[in-house]
Amino acid sequence: MAEFEIGRVVETEFGGKAKILNVIGKGRQSTVYLVQYNSMKMALKWYDTDKVKNLDKIYQNIKRNVKDGEPNNKFLWCKYMTKVDKTTGAFGYFMEVKPDSFEYFVDVMNGYKIVQDSSTKHLTKKSVKFSNLNAMVMAGINIVTAFRKLHEIGKSYHALSDGGFFINTDTGAVLMSDCDTIAPYGEDLDINIRPTYKAPEVLDGGLPDENSDLYTLAVVLFKMLFRGDHMEGRKVIMDICMNEQELAKHYGKEAVFIYDPDNDSNRPIRGIHDNVIKFWGEYPEYIKDAFVRSFTVGKKDPEKRLSLDEWQALFIRLRSEILSCICGKSHFVSMIAKQNDKIFKCPNCGMEFASMKFSNRTFRKPLYIGCKLFECEINPNADDFLSVAGELVENKIRPGLIGIKNCSDSKWSVKMPDGLFHDVTSGKGFPVWNGLEIDFGKVQAKF
C-alpha cells in the first residue's frame, strides 16, 4: 500500500475530517501518521490490507475498544475509527499523540535514540536513560498497574511489541500503546508479530488470557530492568534462523531462559548481551529469582507465573531499597556493602546512611534526604502504590537537622527525644534520632 500524501484528508467513521501532516512511524502492518483533527493533533494508525491476516477481526476489536473506552488515562487508547475505504477495505483508527517527554521503550532498552539534526540533517545518537533508579522502578510499578487496570476489565494484550509503550525517563510515568492488540481474554486476533513477548502456550496456538499476559508482563519488566532479551543467548545466536517462524521455537517449545539455573546452554554472550550480563550481576536475588521462576517453571506452567500482586510487592521493595547519595549516585542496597546491620555505605563516596526497620518486612529501608515513605509501605491494605505518606527532609532554618514530614492524612504516634510518644498529624514533622520509633497504625518502624 502506498503511503498517504501529506495534506490528504481521512474521514472519521462519523464524518469528521483529519488532515495528514506527516508520518510518525511505520510498522510491519501499518503506518502511523500525525494528523490535524479539528483543533487537535492526533495520531492515525492505518492498516496495510495486504499485510494483515484478519482484517475484519481487528476492525471489530478496535471498534469494541473504542466503544468500551480506556481502562485509565495511562493508555493511548483507540478513540475513533476511520471510514472503511470502499475499494480496498482498508481502515485505521485515531489515538492521542505521545507527548515529547515520553520515550519509545525500544530506545530506553537500547540506551539511545537516533535523532536528525533539523539544520544539518545529520543523524546523531542521543542518550535515553532513566534519570535515576527511582524513575526506573516507578516505571515498573506503573507498568504493573497498567496491566492490572487492563485485567480489571477482562482484557489482555494479544501482541505487545517493542513499540508498545512509552516511558518518561525522568518520572517513570508510562503510556501504554498497541491498544488495537488489546482484546478480551480467550479471543483470537491471530496477529502476526515478533514472538519475543508472547507466552509459549500462545506461540503454540493457545489463546491469550490473563496468564499469558502475566508472561508478557514478565518479558516487559525483564527487558526494562536488564535491557536485553530473556531467551536470546548462545543457543539462539548459534542457530541459523531464517525467519520469525523458525525463531519462534526459541520462545516457545524450545525456549531456555538465559539464566536458567539448570540449563546453561543459552547463556548470554559478551559483545552481544553486555547489558544483561552487567545488570544480572547488580540486581538483588529476589528480583532475579522472580525472573528465573517466570521463565523456567512459569514458562511451562501458566499457573506458576508471578501474579500482579507479587510483581507489585517486588517493585515496592526494590523502590524502598534505593539509596540516593548526595554525591549524585544511586544504588540498590543489595549492590552495596553494609557497614554493619543497620548502616549502608555509598560505594561511590563512602558516605554512611542509617536505616529503618519496619514491623511488616524483613529488609531495612535506607534513609537519605528526599527519600519517601509510600502509603503502601505503612498501610498493608493500601491499593495505592504511588501516594507519598512521608518524606525525609532537612530543616531549612537549621541545616543538618534531619526530620520526617507526615504527608499522609493519618495521625502517627512518634517516640520523640524526650522518650515519650507524641501525635504527629498531617503536615507536621519530627526529628530523626537514635531512639526514633513510629507507629503508623498497622505498621510500626524503628530507627
Binding site: 543523524l123 546523531t124 548462545r234 548459534m238 525467519n243 552481544i272
Partner: protein, 289 residues
C-alpha cells in the same frame, strides 16, 4: 563463477615504528556465492593483540557465512524477504565466534610481562580482554541473485554493478552515528553494525578495504574511480594482482600511512562480458576531465 583476491600491506607509519601489520584480509568462493573480508586491528596501546583480533575477525566472518550458505537454496529464498533479520543474525554469530576465538587464544596465551610492561597495574586491570584484540570488520557477500554486506567500525565497501555503476554502499558516518567509534571489541558490538542489501542488480565485483586505502585519496569521486579502474582490469587477474599490490603498497605512504587491506570478489562471467562498459566509462571520464 565467482573468483577473488585479497591482500594486506603494512603501512609506512607501522614500518617506521617497527610494529606489525594490524590488518587482515581474506576471501572465499563457494557454490554460487563469494565472500570478501577485511579487518583493521586498532593497533593502539590497549589493543596490543589487535593483529590477532583482526585475523580472528576475518576467520569468524568467513566461517559464519559458510555456515549460513550450507543450505543455499533456503538462504536465498529467505534473504529476499527477511534480509534485515538474517544479516543481523550473521553479525551476531560473527561476534560470538570472534569472542570464542579470542578467549581461546587468551586462555592459551596469557598476557606476557613484555605486553604488560607498558601499563601501570591499575591501568591494565581496567582493560577488558576483548580490547586487547580490538578490530574493525568489513564483509561483502556476492551471490548470483543479490549482494549484501555489513561492517563495524571504519573501512569501505564498493560495489561495481554490471551496468557500470560504482557505488559505496555503506559509509563511515552511517556506521558511526554521533561519531561513536564502533569496534567488534566494544560493549554491545552486535548492535553497532551497519548493513546493506541489494536484490535487484547483478554485481560485477565487490571490494572491501580498510580505511588506509580510503584516506589515501583526497576525494570520494577519486576513490570510486579507482575501483572502476581496477574492476576493469579483473579480466586479467595476474596483471590485476601485480598492479593492485604495487599500487596499494605505494598508497601506504599517503594519507594516514596506515596498513591497507583490499579484498575483492567478482563474477568472472560478468567481468568477461561487461569489462568493456567499465573501460568506456573510464575513457569518457578522462575525456571530460
Amino acid at each position: 563463477m565467482f573468483k577473488g583476491f585479497s591482500r594486506s600491506v603494512i603501512g609506512a607509519s607501522h614500518v617506521k615504528k617497527g610494529i606489525v601489520c594490524q590488518d587482515s584480509s581474506d576471501y572465499k568462493t563457494g557454490n554460487g556465492y563469494a565472500v570478501a573480508v577485511v579487518a583493521d586491528g586498532h593497533g593502539s596501546k590497549k589493543h596490543f593483540r589487535s593483529h590477532v583480533g583482526s585475523k580472528f575477525a576475518v576467520e569468524s566472518a568467513i566461517e559464519t557465512i559458510e555456515r549460513f550458505y550450507e543450505d543455499r537454496e533456503r538462504l536465498e529464498r529467505e534473504l529476499t524477504e527477511n534480509h534485515e533479520m538474517i544479516i543481523h543474525n550473521m553479525e551476531k554469530q560473527i561476534v560470538a565466534v570472534w569472542h570464542d576465538k579470542i578467549m581461546g587464544h587468551f586462555a592459551e596465551n596469557p598476557v606476557t610481562a613484555e605486553e604488560k610492561k607498558q601499563f601501570e597495574e591499575d591501568e591494565f586491570n581496567k582493560i577488558p580482554v576483548e580490547s586487547y584484540y580490538g578490530t574493525t570488520l568489513v564483509t561483502a557477500i556476492a551471490d548470483e541473485n543479490f549482494t549484501f554486506g555489513f561492517q563495524i567500525g571504519d573501512g569501505s565497501l564498493v560495489a561495481v554493478f554490471d551496468d557500470g555503476e560504482t557505488a559505496m554502499l555503506m559509509d563511515y558516518e552511517e556506521s558511526n552515528p554521533a561519531n561513536i567509534t564502533a569496534s567488534i571489541c566494544g560493549r554491545n558490538a552486535a548492535s553497532m553494525f551497519s548493513r546493506f542489501f541489494v536484490g535487484n542488480k547483478k554485481v560485477l565485483a565487490v571490494f572491501v578495504s580498510t580505511d588506509g586505502l580510503y584516506t589515501s585519496f583526497g576525494k570520494d569521486s577519486d576513490f570510486l574511480d579507482y575501483h572502476t579502474i581496477i574492476a576493469s582490469q579483473l579480466s586479467d587477474i595476474n596483471t590485476f594482482e601485480t598492479s593492485v599490490v604495487k599500487n596499494i603498497t605505494k598508497r601506504t605512504h599517503f594519507g594516514t600511512e596506515d596498513d591497507i587491506s583490499l579484498s575483492c570478489i567478482y563474477n568472472s562471467e560478468i567481468v568477461e562480458e561487461k569489462s568493456m562498459i567499465l573501460r568506456e566509462k573510464i575513457l569518457n571520464k578522462r575525456k571530460k576531465s
